[in-house]
């Protein structure tokens, strides 16, 4: 029977591949999102630039700004994954063909890779522009990974919910930020620790716990959100 022609994973990977193939054809995320991230980055560092930031205040302020840039860039790019499906009406064909959990997994993988791409793009430039000297870059990378994972997981589920509502843009920020704020507050604290060279406390574990619970909630709730 065709049912076992390919597994659940192949379906998820097909969705993931489709997202990036469409992305390379339109270059939407790479262009607008990349530019969005850099404009916020420039605005931030220009405002700090001439005055400069003393190292002590720097370690307090700069991690906050980094995560603000990442949050807003992700919030600009991630909802598109579902909003566009509803707007171009491709959602109907997708609803009929795809297994919900595989679809969510594919979209989540796309969100993750997009967020990590953003982080890899923005962070080095941010560190260079603000001449931030990071004592333990390894920890910073770990925090970026865990924080980025949470950003993508939370945003993907909320995007699926608002895609079927009217005022999508504003609704996404209103609904996503309270979910992402706890994650961000911890990520900012850990990033400060990374810059200052403190060891990662239990907070990194709690960050991963939050990531895991949001992801599990995502997989459990997505079928209910996606189907009638």
């Amino acid at each position: 029977m065709w049912r076992d022609a390919s597994t659940w994973a192949a379906e998820a990977l097909a969705v993931f591949a489709k997202e990036w193939r469409c992305e390379f054809r339109t270059r939407y995320a790479l262009n607008t999102l990349g530019l969005f991230a850099f404009t916020t980055l420039v605005v931030v560092s220009v405002s700090l630039g001439p005055v400069g930031v003393s190292t002590s205040r720097g370690t307090a302020v700069l991690p906050v700004l980094l995560w603000v840039i990442l949050l807003f860039s992700a919030a600009a790019g991630l909802p598109r994954a579902f909003v566009q499906e509803e707007e171009t009406q491709t959602a109907t064909a997708l609803r009929l063909a795809a297994t919900p959990s595989a679809l969510f997994c594919g979209k989540l993988l796309y969100g993750l890779t997009l967020t990590f791409a953003l982080e890899i793009l923005v962070t080095p430039v941010f560190v260079a522009m603000t001449s931030l000297d990071v004592k333990s870059p390894g920890l910073l990378a770990a925090v970026l990974a865990a924080g980025g994972f949470g950003l993508a997981a939370g945003s993907t589920l909320v995007a699926a919910i608002i895609a079927q509502a009217r005022s999508k843009g504003t609704l996404f920020s209103v609904m996503a930020f309270p979910v992402l704020l706890p994650l961000l507050l911890i990520a900012v604290e850990l990033s400060r620790g990374a810059v200052a060279g403190d060891p990662a406390g239990v907070a990194l574990l709690q960050l991963l716990l939050y990531d895991a619970s949001v992801t599990v909630a995502g997989f459990m709730l997505f079928p209910v959100v996606w189907n009638p």
């Binding site: 509502a165 309270p178 979910v179 706890p182 507050l185 604290e189 620790g193 709730l221 959100v225």
Partner: protein, 224 residues
């Protein structure tokens, strides 16, 4: 059935009256607080507790809606619980700010506990925003239920886990000792009694609100 309800109502009146009297006359003042200001705890904490109970109840009603036959009454119950949770949440925030004003001269200092309750209010405010932006009744019920169930992950994290993380990450930023207030037995009794009474009050008001919502829906729905 009627007399039992009257009896229960009377009992609740008596119970809460005792709590109010106890808060001012029976319970001692907590050490290290200015004047009588620590007494606000007997009202602030129950309100914060009830708003947490309301948000969890909303999540549970949403689960019952989603996986229990998609009955509209569960959706109405969840929405009513969120509305009440927000009301108690705002009251808790205001009493918390008043108390912070007395203790440290500032209504707001983004103390970890203040941060988490505000973010919770933002989350459930977004729940109401979502409900108002969806016209189709079934879609509104289904999508808001999903968000409320997500709240079952977010709310406990906000109310309990995040403050601890922020306290541990920032020992020196602990501006108030609320995190570690030494409670004498009498204070604990009044606090628990107040929380229990407030929870009963919540379910009473919630019951009335659900029945009202049901009436509204029945009158507005076209006759079959």
């Amino acid at each position: 059935m009627e007399p039992l309800k009257k009896l229960l109502a009377g009992l609740l009146w008596l119970w809460m009256s005792a709590v109010i009297a106890g808060a001012f006359l029976y319970a001692p003042l907590a050490r290290g607080f200015i004047g009588q200001s620590s007494r606000i705890l007997f009202f602030h904490v129950p309100m914060a507790w009830v708003s947490f109970v309301a948000f969890i109840a909303a999540g549970i009603w949403s689960l019952r809606f989603l996986y229990g036959g998609r009955q509209p009454r569960h959706d109405r119950a969840a929405a009513a619980a969120v509305e009440l949770g927000l009301t108690f949440g705002v009251l808790a925030t205001v009493t918390g700010a008043l108390w912070a004003r007395v203790m440290w001269g500032a209504y707001w200092n983004w103390d970890p506990r203040q941060t988490s309750i505000v973010v919770a209010l933002l989350f459930y405010g977004a729940y109401l925003a979502l409900r108002s932006s969806l016209e189709d009744r079934d879609q509104r019920a289904r999508l808001s239920a999903a968000y409320a169930v997500l709240g079952l992950v977010v709310a406990p994290f906000l109310f309990f886990i995040m403050p601890r993380i922020m306290f541990s990450l920032h020992p020196q930023s602990v501006i108030n000792a609320q995190g570690k207030v030494e409670m004498e037995p009498r204070m604990v009794q009044v606090l628990l009694a107040g929380s229990a009474g407030a929870t009963a009050l919540f379910f009473w008001i919630h019951n009335l609100q659900c029945r009202l919502a049901a009436l509204l829906e029945r009158n507005s729905a076209p006759l079959e």
